[in-house]
Assembly symmetry: C2
Homo-oligomer: 352 residues x 2
């Protein structure tokens, strides 16, 4: 291994590729992974924009795939040379919460770039190498090395595809469902894929951008609604039996988007939400009570979804990696952020 480089955020609009210490196995359950592809998440932009303040320079990035270089003595399920997918959170995959499928509440939960329960800092994903804690629980190996065509689709399983799938599962999308997707970012677009994959008959993508509308339709959206607010709700009702959707997938996280979601569901409908709540808008319980519209979801336990989604990615049945419309070398990570921040890109992929 060489002296490695990784992305460090210093403050608003200031991410830099810097030389950092080489990762080493610190615990027998660790692995070291050479990153083959990483990406920038919409939630990384929160720090980038200063909405979430950066108090001291820190490693950033929580979506990556790569090749196992080295494993600790207790690692059993992955071995050097294997290609692996890392979900956006670290989990043991054995505790009671993981067994319930809620890996994001794992008893040993840790986040890339943050200290774990013992205060040991974790590496982050936008770098050349990553020390992976709880490697057996966290990593999922692919059948073999993916081709360069497959690579973006596989990478999407680290977050956005699993997160869109979580929204669809939380909203109980099933065969014949009518679905509205609020949000045309990478997660919303993947939610369109997920809804169709689970059998939805109608999928209405709410989007005002021609390129994203086109991608939503390529992913299986049957309808596009550009309007927002009450006009958007009226259009959705027009399209869906005059009553609204069985399932609404909220993939933004603002007060407005949640209200859009609640208003777009039919009585008894279900909102599945995965948009990180921005500023903690609370849910209008009286509206939920009188309409019987439910709200389920949260931070997506993507680890548990990787195996089933990987099957469909590997077979070519789904192509979520099409959300990456900008591919840059890791050295240009600053531009990868800027392009997403300025909405010149839906999602940036980084190749170390």
């Amino acid at each position: 291994m060489q002296v490695m480089r990784a992305t460090v955020i210093h403050g608003p609009h200031d991410v830099r590729l810097e030389t950092v210490p080489d990762p080493v196995i610190q615990r027998p359950t660790d692995a070291v992974v050479r990153v083959v592809a990483a990406c920038v998440c919409g939630s990384d932009l929160w720090s980038y924009r200063g909405v979430r303040p950066t108090t001291e320079p820190g490693r950033i990035g929580h979506e990556f795939v790569g090749v196992v270089e080295e494993v600790g003595a207790d690692v059993r399920s992955v071995r050097p040379g294997q290609f692996v997918i890392a979900p956006f959170s670290i989990a043991d995959n054995t505790c009671v919460h993981c067994r319930h499928g809620v890996h994001t509440s794992c008893e040993q939960l840790a986040w890339w770039g943050s200290p774990d329960h013992d205060g040991v800092p974790s590496d982050a994903g936008q770098g050349e190498y990553v020390r992976v804690p709880l490697a057996d629980g966290t990593l999922v190996a692919t059948p073999e090395q993916p081709s360069s065509e497959l690579l973006p689709h596989v990478l999407s399983l680290s977050d956005v595809m699993g997160t869109g799938h979580h929204a669809a599962r939380a909203a109980q999308v099933g065969p014949g469902s009518t679905v509205v997707v609020v949000g045309d970012g990478a997660v919303g677009l993947c939610a369109v894929i997920a809804a169709r994959r689970l059998g939805a008959e109608r999928v209405v993508a709410m989007s005002r951008h021609a390129d994203r509308q086109a991608l939503a339709q390529r992913f299986g959206a049957t309808d596009v609604v550009a309007e927002r607010g009450p006009d958007g709700v009226a259009r959705v009702r027009d399209l869906l039996d005059g009553i609204g959707a069985d399932c609404v997938l909220e993939c933004v996280g603002t007060k407005e988007s949640m209200q859009q979601a609640l208003d777009s569901a039919r009585p008894g409908g279900r909102v599945g939400f995965v948009g990180v709540p921005a500023g903690g808008p609370e849910l209008p319980v009286q509206q939920m009570f009188s309409t019987n519209v439910s709200v389920a979801g949260g931070v997506a336990p993507v680890r548990g979804y990787i195996p089933e989604l990987l099957e469909d990615v590997w077979s070519g049945a789904i192509q979520p990696g099409l959300v990456f419309d900008l591919v840059l070398p890791l050295a240009e990570v600053a531009e990868a952020y800027a392009a997403m921040d300025e909405r010149r890109a839906i999602k940036s992929m980084l190749l170390p």
Copy 2:
């Protein structure tokens, strides 16, 4: 028919049995029902206590069973002489929302004691007779006249048993579920029945009253927790694998009870709520996001549940009518309210 009497609310702590006009068939879809038993609902106490202001004297009561006296020309599914159950809301049972099982969002929804869409006033349940609009959609006939032993159980299907069942269904209680019931009123107690009926393995009743604790246990609660707030949550976790419940049934409607419910669910758990939100406490979306605890439920579409629940009532498999611990003649309706208001009774049954 004689000149009939019905309950009229005049203001806080002022309900009176008064002579009112005899009900007559006004539309061909109406029926007239002679009330055999009615009851007082916890939500009636809102008006009784002045929380919901009474602007002018009005008929009250939305839970009753009785015998069909007369039907309009278009009524097909019930006939004079049949014993019928009236759910707490009026519905056509044919519109798109009813077909989705959300009878409380029926396109022709109306409430007992309130004007319907055309401004025609509806009768209410705490009286001797009731004009029933949309009789085919609203009423469910029993196989035959219930015995006096069966009567309270059958009456409970007009609201509390169906409402408790809705909480359990909304929380997706199933075989093996661990369940917490927040609220030991009639609905909470019925929710215990519902949870066990749907296969719950553990049902923790949160109750501080010895008589209600005993009834909860008779209904199948496996555990009772008297503590509230953080102490209550700690006790629940102790009892349920250290993590909390798969399903929590919120049967109160206050900010505190909803918080108790959210805190009592395990990560990924499900809150089913049927407590009428008092004062509109909003839901903490950030907590729901980070824990993946969902919230479903609302005003219960009991009409749709009556047939399946009636089967179990009729066979004696469930005995929800045990929640009636005070039986009074209709003439003593004022005492029926006072006893519930002062918590001397869980629920009052009225016999005209």
